[in-house]
Symmetry: C2
């Protein structure tokens, strides 16, 4: 036996985490073993706290601590603009830009027939209920620019346009600071197609 059982159990739990292989797990476990008791204590407490204190916002399905998430609870946000994203991490990415003042709707994934995920497995029903309820005039579809993300965007456009909503898609093109030479053909093609007058 290479490790004492309590160390082996910690390694097993650490290796379940995404992106943590045996080497990283060992490094983390030995760091915990070498550190003050507090380090393990605070990490353990924050793991338990996050599970007891955080739930899904019943409106946008982002993570929330209060009844509603902070964005939904903020009276300053533009309630006519709704941005649809795949996952809570995408909300963080967009909030970081400081460019968006509307509300969000987190689908919880994308349509992917290969993985058996259709609109019923996502929060599409809740999205339709939400926009039919009222003040939203434009839905920005900000799913990833993968095949599944694009499929989901097209599907949502087909569902939402008949309701009289403006449906937009985030732009594809060259990353800022990007070199034409190194762009893949599909991205460069999209950037040309979506050219704007200066």
């Amino acid at each position: 036996m290479l490790y004492a059982p309590p160390i082996a159990r910690l390694l097993e739990e650490l290796e379940r985490l995404p992106g943590i292989g045996p080497k990283s797990a060992q490094r983390i476990a030995y760091y915990i073993l070498r550190s003050d008791e507090e380090v393990a204590g605070r990490l353990a407490a924050s793991l338990l706290e996050v599970k007891s204190a955080i739930h899904f916002c019943p409106r946008c399905f982002d993570f929330a601590e209060a009844e509603l998430c902070e964005v939904c609870a903020d009276p300053e946000r533009d309630t006519t603009l709704l941005c649809v994203v795949e996952e809570p991490r995408d909300v963080v990415a967009i909030e970081r830009t400081g460019e968006f003042r509307g509300l969000y709707h987190v689908l919880g994934g994308v349509i992917s027939p290969m993985d058996g995920i259709g609109p019923e497995q996502l929060r599409v029903r809740e999205l339709l209920d939400r926009v039919s309820g009222g003040s939203v005039t434009e839905v920005v579809v900000a799913t990833n620019t993968t095949v599944e993300g694009e499929t989901t965007a097209l599907y949502l456009a087909r569902m939402l346009k008949p309701l009289g909503l403006k449906v937009t898609r985030i732009a594809s093109g060259l990353p800022v600071g990007g070199d034409l030479e190194y762009a893949d053909e599909v991205t460069l093609g999209r950037a040309l197609e979506a050219r704007r007058e200066l």
Copy 2:
């Protein structure tokens, strides 16, 4: 505020871990949030258990659950052979080879004047006490083949040889399956110098 406070606290604790940056921390936190309560519970419990159940073996200074570590407690091990390593992870690496049947001594680091670490900060005193006590006849110095590791090996040889002990060093050379072409000059030089008759 990008994250609800309990999520922000978990991210902060995760980012303290070695090899975990903001992106990995977010990925892990969101995995925990999406998973069953048990996942966080088991990880938290194993973090606390490892700190309460594991201590240093008073003989070799590896991590131990019982009074002595498993290697020191094993009557089948060869007590004439002592392998000196830097850290507990090195014991795991050597045990994995299945080639060593002696005992270990974990220094807890290497001599590194730049970092203010001298023999007094390591378990050198304990090593000398241990070998002067009795049955050890050969000390294999298996510190890393870094400048500090080599310095430490030379220092230990100087301390241990006058006690009538055989002091050996693990071999340096080409990794098995390694290509001569890609070996660095120092390694290749060492491999030539330490050539053996076939």
